[in-house]
């Protein structure tokens, strides 16, 4: 079936089986490789992207539900000249090791900061449930707090 949506601000339409997970449409049809496959069951968060600003685990989200919606992937997180506060904070704290799960964490964090601009440690514990096997959680927590600071500074 033909499905239309915007991705990272650009209108896009694809002709695929509507039950195909959005993840594979993004990765293999639209060739945006930043969104990762981890488990295919929404259990690890590596495939996290935004649909209408909400963090979605795209491995378990049929593409047909994206009809007419706005999708953002890691490739479109930063808009304009400036890098997104979450990515900026990730660089400042030198978070990634292997790096594979990091786009999912950054997308989950960006959505969290829209919901809770200044998250406490408990907010972070309750909301960031992705899996990182390199276990970069210690730096991630620092980066999430730092991202909130950068973001607040930009608004002021």
């Amino acid at each position: 079936m033909n499905i239309s949506f915007t991705i990272n601000g650009e209108p896009q339409s694809v002709d695929v089986d509507g039950n195909t997970p959005l993840l594979w449409v993004v990765r293999d049809v639209l060739n945006l490789k930043g969104t990762k496959f981890g488990c295919g069951k929404a259990a690890c968060g590596a495939c996290t992207l935004h649909v209408e600003g909400v963090a979605i685990r795209s491995c378990s989200y049929a593409v047909k539900f994206a009809q007419g919606k706005a999708i953002t992937t890691i490739e479109g997180l930063s808009t304009g000249e400036k890098i997104h506060p979450v990515q900026q904070a990730w660089i400042e704290e030198v978070v990634p090791q292997c790096g594979y799960c990091q786009p999912g964490f950054m997308m989950a964090t960006a959505a969290l900061l829209e919901k809770i601009p200044n998250p406490t440690d408990k907010d972070i514990d309750d909301n960031i449930s992705n899996v990182c096997r390199c276990a970069t959680y210690y730096r991630m927590r620092k980066a999430i707090h730092r991202a909130a600071e950068i973001k607040a500074g930009e608004i002021e």
């Binding site: 981890g38 990634p96 292997c98 799960c101 449930s129 899996v131 210690y138």
Partner: protein, 723 residues
Amino acid sequence: MTNTEKKKKKGFSRRKFLVRSSVGLGVIVGAGYLSRNLVRRYLAGFANTAELPYTNSVGPNVWFEITTDNQLILHSPKVEMGQGTFTGLAQMAADELEVPIEKISVVHAASETGNIDPFSTGGSTSISGLWQPLRELAATMREMLKGEAAKLLGVAASSLSLKDGVISSGDTSMTYGEVVAQVKEWTVPDTPPLKDIKDYKYIGKPIQRIDLTDKVLGTPMFGIDSTLPDMLYGAVARPNTIGAKFVDADISAAEGMPGVVKIVKEEDFVGVVAKSRTEAENAKNAIKVTWESEREWASADIEEMIQVGKGDPIVIQKEGKAKSLLADGEDVITAEFKSPIGAHAQLEPNGSLAFVEADKATVMISTQVVNLTRSEVAERLGMEVEQVNIQPTYLGGGFGRRLHTPNAVQTAVMSKAVGKPVKCFFNRKEEFQNDTFRPPTHHVLKAKLSENGMIEAIEHNVSSGDVMFGSPLFPAVIESVLGADVGAWRGGMIQYRKIPNFRAISWRVKLPFATSWWRSLGLLANTFAIESFIDELALKAGKDPVQFRLDHTKNDEAGKRLSAVIREAAEKSGYTDEVKNGMAMGFAASTDANTPVAQVVEVSIENEQIKVHKVTCVIDPGIAVNPDQVRAQCEGAIIMGMSASMFEKMEVKNSELSPTIYGPYQMALMRHAPKEIDVVILENAEKPGAVGEPPLGPIGAAIANAVFRLTGQRLREMPFSLT
């Protein structure tokens, strides 16, 4: 100079640079040095010190390229799986080449460049193994460029000065790129002396990871991100039970399903090639495979096998009369510990992209064993290894899972069958059920205390499934050469060698499923057992656990380094045996691959769960090429070790290994991670040592020792469970 250093020097003197001109690339410089009896030397190194002397690579050995626009490309024989090796290598090359680090990019050497490691990336040996050769190669290349610049400028080489990749003489100057553009015949100088360590600009500094920006922007770099024009997608039916062998497959239901291009049925597997991943997976699920297995397995069967006293014992360490002293008597203290089957659970599944053409094959893959991947693909395709090019990619986690990659063979076979590039990756269930697991272990410890509360004799027995034995990386003959599985007993020896009588015994068990390397190998479980027992002995002797360890540490080089990390960890953390405000501390130390590590944890019990608040980690890896990445490795290893100690466990039921998904396979997540990790780096050795694995050692025991102080319960089995 030690014997090992002498041997290395001899190897270097045979080094021969190869210089080739290459369109658009400027110059390609490489080196190769030969070594006889590679396997033996590797194993001897591994067995004694777990340090891999970087021995040899195969083929023309392209290390460096300098482009005419003055960029430098380093072809790394080691792969980047998160450990930060590329950054460390760039620092080493930049310092000896006198170029700004921004001008250096590091790429994975494709096998066609020849500069691939004959064994693997693993064992925490990449930086330590390349420390000497890479700096010497870079220094030699610097002198080579200088020599050619002198000829081009018509001045004496001694009058030239070097800065930031620019060679100057008076008012005239040339960039490395400009030299490269003009030289056709190169003269290779003798290897110059290396710079003094204090003169390095990058080595020893917390340089930002060179792959940081790409990883933050989501740039395609992993095996699963590889693409080729006209690429198709594969899926292979994989067994879900232990010991299942492929017999036959009924493909009738899968044929003609949407997107299916071809069903590939071979003697040993069946796969689908389709136009999309989803279509390939759907068609694979419609195939009815007949598997054959000899018997059924359950967790209880495996536990029954993994027991000290069963299997083949090999004494791996012996001093004094531990055996007779611990033979009997009421005063012999004994304790048992266990660890479960562990999964790698790396986030990027196994898989590859292969394109097999009439006379050549290309495979893009996340692998820790480029050479083995290549030889297995070549053998199956009936090609010469030179016809197969393995292009390693960044790994979405290694941890030992990619030390064997037979999936590349299956993908190549499917590509050959359709004449197009095929990409095929495991799904998560297949990944969990076809893992090469961390073997379960059982430990029996015995000791005797003297009247003054010192350990008179101690013995550690470990029963484990294989780690390194049975791997296609090594010829079977090594089993008889080595006797015991070096991987299984890693961390299993007694490090307190002031004890007059000690013994360590490894009991080998062959399990019915694949077991293999898992970051730090036996270190985590062995240290959990030994360091918990040492804690018990200290309490029994009525001694402070820190002082007790120091009292039994020998006054030799290794002992002094171990004592130093123990003292520093106690001091930095303010270690105390007292429980304050529901919080207790736990202490443990280990020595792995010559790197001593001591850790102190602060733990409480919240909602009947163990909560780790703070970890102090003191590590002595010798020279820390990149202190920030040493810290990062410690932080990650600590939480990964916590995860394995507190949560992770695979079970066997009706021959099926489970869980098969994250969540049920419980792991440490953000909410479990300590809020504070204080890493202290001591540098009491004159070269860089192992970093990636040693900090996994003490964490399990440190937590268990803290829990004992809090609850009086001695944790004897991983994953920990409070009663």
